[in-house]
């Protein structure tokens, strides 16, 4: 497949959706998520530090309608195979806000981007942001009982946006 045609739906999978993830703080949450991408062969070990450093420099938490989310990402050089990992934390942790780093947001839902195809990040992020702008969808994801449920919600939503 041409990398220019890489779609969001090709990057999500049930095995990369986690619920009840335990973390005491932002760093632990990000480390756990990044390490899972490393362990499954999607990212190089350097991805973990890349994610943590980027989050410190450029916080990724956003107050979406009804829910706070975070969209951590880092440079393509740390990635072997593109993927988007989703985690719902057992209890929310404080992330610094993208819009105002002096402010923190209690985040329970995180979408971590690991992209090798740099040129696609804008489109893929736009797709996810569009999905997350709908409070009803975030409610469904927040309340879903298992990873499969979250996968189905995400897949059906992104398929509507990525026609063809």
């Amino acid at each position: 497949m041409e990398s220019s045609q890489l779609r969001f739906r090709d990057l999500i999978s049930e095995e990369l959706i986690f619920i009840d993830v335990q973390a005491n703080d932002r760093t632990e949450a990000l480390k756990t998520m990044a390490q899972r991408l490393v362990d499954r062969g999607y990212c190089k070990p350097s991805f973990v530090a890349g994610i943590l450093d980027r989050e410190t420099l450029h916080p990724s938490a956003l107050p979406m309608p009804g829910h706070k989310i975070a969209i951590p990402h880092t440079d393509a050089e740390h990635v072997e195979r593109s993927a988007i990992l989703f985690a719902r934390l057992a209890s929310p942790v404080a992330f610094r806000s993208m819009g105002d780093p002096d402010q923190t947001l209690e985040v329970a839902m995180i979408s971590m981007f690991a992209l090798k195809e740099k040129k696609r990040i804008g489109d893929l992020l736009e797709t996810l942001i569009t999905v997350y702008q709908d409070e009803a969808v975030l409610d469904q994801i927040y309340n879903a009982s298992d990873a499969r449920g979250i996968f189905e919600i995400l897949r059906s939503r992104v398929e509507r946006l990525e026609v063809g």
Binding site: L62, D75, S97, G99, P101, I121, G122, L125, I129
Partner: protein
């Protein structure tokens, strides 16, 4: 009006959230028949790329912006507060 106004759009990577923001600004200003040009850059590149732009819109903290007005906002990502930010942008672009 004296030529196209230029907006520098910054984020951490120059290719992620700034892409979403630049597209949204172009779309919203086109609706208002305001012809602009956007350039994307990394927050760290702002000091070297700011010159020649009329406005900087960023999703993350930037410094070294000189006299150029800066709007730090995530409204184009959250979908909330877009109208107010577009009004601010339009105001800044007036001669």
């Amino acid at each position: 009006m004296a030529g196209k106004k230029r907006i520098l759009v910054a984020c951490g990577t120059a290719i992620a959230t700034s892409t979403v923001v630049a597209r949204k600004i172009e779309e919203e200003l086109a609706k208002r028949d305001i012809d602009i040009m956007t350039t994307q850059c990394k927050a760290s590149e702002v000091p070297s790329k700011a010159e020649g732009h009329d406005l900087i819109v960023t999703t993350t903290f930037v410094s070294g912006t000189g006299d150029i007005p800066v709007i730090h906002t995530v409204s184009f990502l959250t979908g909330m507060g877009i109208e107010q930010d577009i009004e601010k942008i339009v105001e800044h672009l007036k001669d």
